[in-house]
């Protein structure tokens, strides 16, 4: 293929260099820089020189231990209970601040459960980070089926030959072209507690049986509300991807199925779904990647609250790296996030590998 006609080192480099240099300076350099920064104590502005501190940043984020608390006992060996009958335990502080256990120094309670008379307490060096990590994974876990499944239903709905179907497609896709920042602020109002639109709609639909909820002000509903809104916003995006997959399935397969007398469900199960395999992997991966990057929704709607119930990894990266000017802390979370992305990409490569 290569001939003297197209051989040109000078022109080749000259054409590629401007674009590549920018990509190198603003993507590749900061990418490797993040790894380096995560091993230092770099701050955005600091009078002291930066020091290399090894893996300390990672230990400060990731250290987790379980401690067992024995109940308080009377001199007779009776378990002490408070007036509600709950067993009383020594405070976690007595362990994390004690000189006897230097390994637990500075750690805080994340959550606990009871086993027999003793309490098992999970303590973490950085509870907020742990919550952000769990929230990010929860976000991904729920939004993948909701958004991906919803988008597939939309695609099936829109893949009919009906007059005016394009108008519906245009409408379903519309939230995709609106900024997530705008959408988030709009939904902040829709979700609000008293005068909120959603509460009013739900109570109208149930003839007043529905009790209003402060969707974003409640630790139990805040993350779910953000997930639902995010799924709603980008569903049209994935609908388009599913649609492309649906339209790549050969019509002769459907004809064969209808000759065989297959039911609608059988046709979907044995013709449509197998034909969508690669599309399914793509949608799964794209949604997962997007959910790892959640920031604007949280920043606009909840600021990570209430009680850290909507903290996410990117929100923490920004809060530390920019808010607290702790560049190395933010970079460390970035590296952890990237490793998660890398794992997802490996899963994708595995799922779409060429099969003999």
């Amino acid at each position: 293929m290569s001939s003297k006609l197209t051989r040109s080192n000078r022109a080749g480099w000259l054409f590629a260099l401007p674009g590549f240099s920018l990509l190198f300076l603003f993507i590749i350099v900061p990418f490797f820089f993040a790894f380096w920064l995560s091993l230092t104590n770099q701050r955005l502005v600091s009078p002291n020189p930066t020091e290399f501190i090894g893996l300390k940043n990672y230990r400060d984020l990731l250290s987790v231990s379980i401690i067992t608390l024995e109940p308080e006992r009377t001199e007779a060996g009776e378990v002490v209970r408070d007036k509600d009958g709950e067993i009383e335990y020594p405070r976690v502080r007595t362990i994390t601040r004690s000189d006897e256990f230097p390994q637990y120094r500075g750690m805080q309670e994340w959550f606990r459960w009871q086993s027999g008379d003793t309490a098992k307490v999970v303590i973490a060096a950085d509870v907020v980070f742990m919550k952000a990590l769990v929230n990010t994974l929860t976000f991904a876990l729920f939004i993948v089926p909701i958004q991906g499944g919803g988008a597939l239903l939309l695609a099936l709905l829109i893949n009919q030959k009906l007059r005016g179907i394009n108008a519906y497609r245009t409408i379903y896709f519309m939230p995709v072209v609106i900024s997530i920042v705008v959408i988030s602020l709009l939904w902040r109002f829709i979700y609000s507690g008293n005068e909120g639109l959603l509460n009013n709609i739900l109570s109208a639909l149930t003839f007043g049986a529905f009790t209003p909820v402060d969707w974003l002000g409640n630790t139990e509903t805040a993350l779910g509300s953000i997930i639902a809104m995010s799924a709603w916003q980008a569903m049209g995006f994935h609908m388009v991807i599913w649609l492309a997959g649906l339209q790549s399935i050969s019509p002769t397969l459907y004809e064969a199925a209808s000759i065989e007398g297959a039911s609608k469900w059988q046709t979907f199960r044995y013709v449509t779904w197998p034909g969508l395999r690669n599309t399914a992997v793509l949608v799964l991966i794209v949604i997962t990647m997007q959910s790892f990057a959640v920031f604007a929704q949280v920043d606009v709607m909840t600021n990570g609250g209430p009680l850290d119930s909507t903290q996410t990894l990117v929100f923490q990266t920004v809060e530390r790296g920019y808010g607290k000017q702790d560049i190395s802390g933010g970079a460390t979370i970035s590296v952890i996030l990237f490793l998660m992305v890398l794992m997802i990409s490996a899963v994708q490569a595995f799922l779409t590998r060429e099969r003999k």
Binding site: S3, L5, S8, G19, A34, Q160, F189
Partner: protein, 293 residues
């Protein structure tokens, strides 16, 4: 018998349209609410949420919220900033990414394959994972301006433009498109003695309308809609702030929702209008990002 089936058919058709329309309502109601509310005084806006009036432009309708929103924040400035940053980045991006892709597809040079692999590999780096180190980097970068050498890119237009010009997806889109162009065309022009720049300008780019449209739409959406995290951390001064960060002006303790809705409508309607005019191009651009996997 024939009559029954046709009735049945009509009924099923009606059911289909009913389903489609019901779903359409789910996607439309927040947007209708936004536009309608921007025309109402706060008190009425809140009162109307308890009835169907929330979605109807009824009662005390005026443009007061827009007037007040313009008084509260330099909206014209924010809009101009966003448009300037978006247009400049899109133009530069199309130029530099298509040049690079041209070189990767049509020219044969040492290191070509390796460089292209590196670029494709950067596809999996989400911006969110490099934002913090990039913040440190741009705070120290030098720049030669009118007043001579300066250090630091914070609070400028360039910090919002230059890091966003080159990206793997745009290069990749151009590479895919160029690969399908007939090579004989290029080789024939070479035989006739055309320079590479001439071939790029006179032959390849005039044929590249569709991919330029795709790249421009995707980049514009990124630059106008999704520029939030980055300007939030690198632009503190009002003079350079884009529209999405400008929203902060409306987050006071007592949120004036009418004004918020007016601002949201103002900054979204131009994009929606573009989308409605160019919907086919918009949707196929998005679909083409899906093909990359």
């Amino acid at each position: 018998m024939a009559l029954v089936t046709s009735d049945n058919h009509g009924l099923r058709l009606a059911a289909r349209y009913a389903t489609l329309s019901l779903v359409a309502l789910i996607f439309l109601f927040p947007l209708v609410f936004m536009v309608v509310s921007s025309l109402k005084p706060d008190q009425q806006l809140l009162a109307d949420t308890s009835s169907i009036r929330a979605f109807l432009p009824v009662g005390d309708i005026s443009l007061d919220n827009y007037v007040k929103a313009f008084e509260r924040a330099p909206i014209g400035r924010f809009m101009a900033n966003s448009v300037f940053v978006t247009v400049t980045t899109v133009l530069m991006s199309i130029l530099l990414c298509s040049l690079a892709a041209f070189s990767f597809v049509f020219l044969d040079w040492t290191g070509r394959g390796a460089l292209l692999s590196v670029i494709v590999a950067t596809l999996i780096i989400p911006f969110e994972t490099i934002a913090v180190p990039l913040l440190l980097l741009v705070s120290k970068l030098p720049w030669i301006g009118l007043e001579g050498l300066e250090t630091g890119w914070l609070n400028t237009y360039r910090v919002q433009i230059i890091p966003w010009i080159a990206d793997a997806l745009t290069i990749f889109l151009f590479v895919q498109f160029f690969k399908d162009l007939p090579r004989e065309l290029i080789e024939a022009a070479r035989v006739e003695g055309a320079s590479w720049l001439t071939i790029y300008r006179r032959i390849v780019m005039p044929l590249s309308g569709p991919v330029v449209a795709t790249a421009a739409i995707l980049k514009s959406l990124t630059m106008y809609n999704n520029q939030y995290l980055w300007p939030l951390i690198v632009v503190q001064d009002e003079a350079h702030r884009p529209v999405m960060v400008g929203l902060g002006y409306f987050f006071q303790l007592q949120i004036a929702w009418g004004e918020v809705m007016a601002y949201l409508t103002l900054i979204s309607v131009p994009v929606i209008a573009f989308y409605l005019v160019l919907q086919r191009a918009f949707i196929s651009s998005i679909a083409s990002t899906g093909v990359k996997g």
